[in-house]
Symmetry: C2
Subunit: 241 residues, 2 copies
Amino acid sequence: MVYTFCERVSSSGYDDDLELLNDSLHEFGGCGGSVLLSSPIERVGGKNENCEAKALAALKNHSEAERRRRERINGHLATLRGLVASAHQKMDKATLLAKVISQVKELKKNAMEASKDFLIPMETDEVKVEPYDIKLGYGCMSYMATICCDYQPEILCDLKKTLDALQLQLVKSEMSTLERRMKNVFVFTCCKGVNNSVDVEACQSIGNVVHKALGSVLEKASMSMEFALTTSYPNKRRRMC
Amino acid sequence: MVYTFCERVSSSGYDDDLELLNDSLHEFGGCGGSVLLSSPIERVGGKNENCEAKALAALKNHSEAERRRRERINGHLATLRGLVASAHQKMDKATLLAKVISQVKELKKNAMEASKDFLIPMETDEVKVEPYDIKLGYGCMSYMATICCDYQPEILCDLKKTLDALQLQLVKSEMSTLERRMKNVFVFTCCKGVNNSVDVEACQSIGNVVHKALGSVLEKASMSMEFALTTSYPNKRRRMC
DNA sequence: AAGCACACGTGAATC
DNA sequence: TGATTCACGTGTGCT
């Protein structure tokens, strides 16, 4: 649709000037068909005042309802603007919404990973060494090493020996158990850098060494577990570490 | 501002009909001042065609730019609609934005709590027992008990004895250490319900008992720590559990 | 019919 | 200036 303006009148916002709105009333029928055909100029008004007033009221209602709707939406937009809080509060709607989208995705991803970290895989054993993004200053990287398998007391001995032998700088260690399963997590740092920049290769090779060592521990444990299951004393007590 | 319609013309979207838009051209001056004063009816056009064409093009550009803007915003809105994914995709913009807001707040709160759970308070000891919202079916509640203090080997003995004595149904246990500090977390269930409904009071009293017991363990540990610090052998080895 | 929600084109402001 | 953003009133479809 294309519609054209007949005249534009400056007035004080939402006034009740009937004359100015006469031409809009075609749209609201039911007040006598002749009005629909008479041109704006020929019509002098007089007996249709009631009808026009009603139509005007409807129009006013409509625009005010629309204004309320806009305010509702813009209010929520303002809340979101405060919520994403990317320093500068001057941002157009589209950009704001884009930022909201990326924020929601980011938060969801983090939540997913966090819940995954909290879980203990029940069926599969695993050894994992991966970079861990805590900030420890320049020249340092940190890694998170995970080993998850069936619980066996002696694996703690092996683990301790292995970690001691590697002389890792342990930042944090965590052990959780769930039913017959256990999961050990170590966070360690690698400060192999020179001139305040990380020597990435040296750190990676340390990571690989740790991965290999944990792999050996796991392998030994699962072998010992198999052996235990095939002997006639499956519940035989083992020496604590 | 209030403006009135002269006539409304049905046409195919965005066409180039100059006549219909003549009346809109006041707004775009610079094509000869006389046009601004002549009425739409008196004016016959002819020598201002070039000017009018330019104005029309500007107007068309404007409306198309606005259309693109709307599409950009609505596109993001659609993405968000898919992201909150509250089953029913029929939702007005305001409601959608409200849901996005609550979702973001929820996710942020969870992230905060998760990071808090992962932290070990370094300065203050603490004992905490609080409901833990994992679903275990009807008639069961679960709790998370936390005890955090300086690391002492014998506290593990005390803890084990205490938990055994309480005969808790342990679901998960977790111990983390950071420098000289340790944190132990236990998740246990309380299935005291009758007729598939939880006996909340019974569970709460169990929670209180656990809290009290852990408090005693912590108290004993800190007393023993103080004793160790005041003796002449602060680094004296203690028997492992 | 009467209310609501949306898309549209426009006027004004800002850069 | 031209481009871009916003608020506004309106037309229209749905319920």
